[in-house]
Symmetry: C2
């Protein structure tokens, strides 16, 4: 029997780059893929028109979407800002809302921003070696707080958890993270209305 | 609301030692805890009587045993041999047999030994940066193949998966891993009868 590649042999995820040696290429999100996700849409558009670099990469290895299975891989958020807002992932709820996720930080300096439908907000800084537990029911987004280093995390979630971007694509998270006087600060997202 | 410690803040698992900075101390297994788990029981007993060192440590953080939750932590297998058999964990099936597990190797050099109830055997070497996928239905055991380095892995499995040591405590795995002429080799376990 031929096993899928993620069973056949261990997959090397380079802790320095986050990139994997495996059949599945990473998915990527560029400035052009994140329309209206940052507060400063003019700045985003300018970045799209002048290089349209990759903001982040992540893996989908094709593990069966079963409740007994586990999806895993790396998330790689490159340093940079759109206006004064740090590079970040789109973020998502799980389609099966109450499923948890574990992130283990391999490199860089960042934040896990989390919020649940009732409006409870949790945000945690991440440094290399730290495991962040994302409870069920919490939307979550990785944010790179460094202007020079790449944020790399290894993540695991239930195979059938699924991704629900719906409400976030419309109005984002309740909070945004911006740089002020050289350090991060969490502010209300003016585009967010309950 | 006071959150459990594994939600309150990220937990640092030192990639060099595997040890965590958190409320829960690691569990540990010494030579005295592994009676009849190695082929050479005389050698094991001698090691128990001359120091009774720790063979391995691992964490149980107390994440709820729910199907929507994820248990996680590090496994730390110290270098050494019992007779010519490498240091290893007891190994276990999951009580909910078909649940998978993910291991990410942080340091050292080792092997994941796996077998399912039908007798299919899979074993994979592990090096730092490699993720090993343990499919559902496979008992699994971490083995330290180095005589000098500690094997450290970060693991994640479903909160309600549970541990079933029963059949392994009686007769072990179908295969054992021993050192011959300075390198590892996989051999039939003479104590294992179907």
């Amino acid at each position: 029997m031929k096993h899928p590649f993620y069973i056949e042999k261990p997959i090397f995820f380079d802790p320095a780059t986050g990139l994997a040696e495996c059949e599945a290429p990473p998915l990527e999100r560029r400035y052009s893929n994140m329309k209206n996700m940052y507060l400063d849409e003019t700045a985003r558009l300018r970045l799209e028109q002048t290089g349209n670099d990759v903001i982040y990469r992540f893996y989908e290895l094709g593990v069966p979407e079963k409740e007994s299975d586990l999806a895993y891989g790396t998330s790689i958020v490159y340093p940079g800002k759109v206006g004064n807002e740090y590079h970040m992932t789109n973020g998502h709820f799980h389609t099966i809302l109450d499923t948890a996720e574990i992130y283990y930080c391999l490199a860089g300096y960042g934040m896990m921003m989390m919020e649940n439908p009732e409006g409870d907000i949790q945000y945690k800084e991440m440094h290399p070696g730290e495991a962040v537990y994302v409870p069920g029911r919490y939307a979550h987004r990785s944010i790179n707080l460094s202007n020079t280093e790449t944020l790399i995390t290894f993540y695991v979630f239930r195979g059938d958890a699924g991704h629900d971007y719906g409400s976030i694509k419309e109005k984002g998270f309740r909070k945004i993270v911006v740089e002020k006087e050289g350090r991060w600060t969490v502010e209300d997202n003016p585009r967010w209305q309950s």
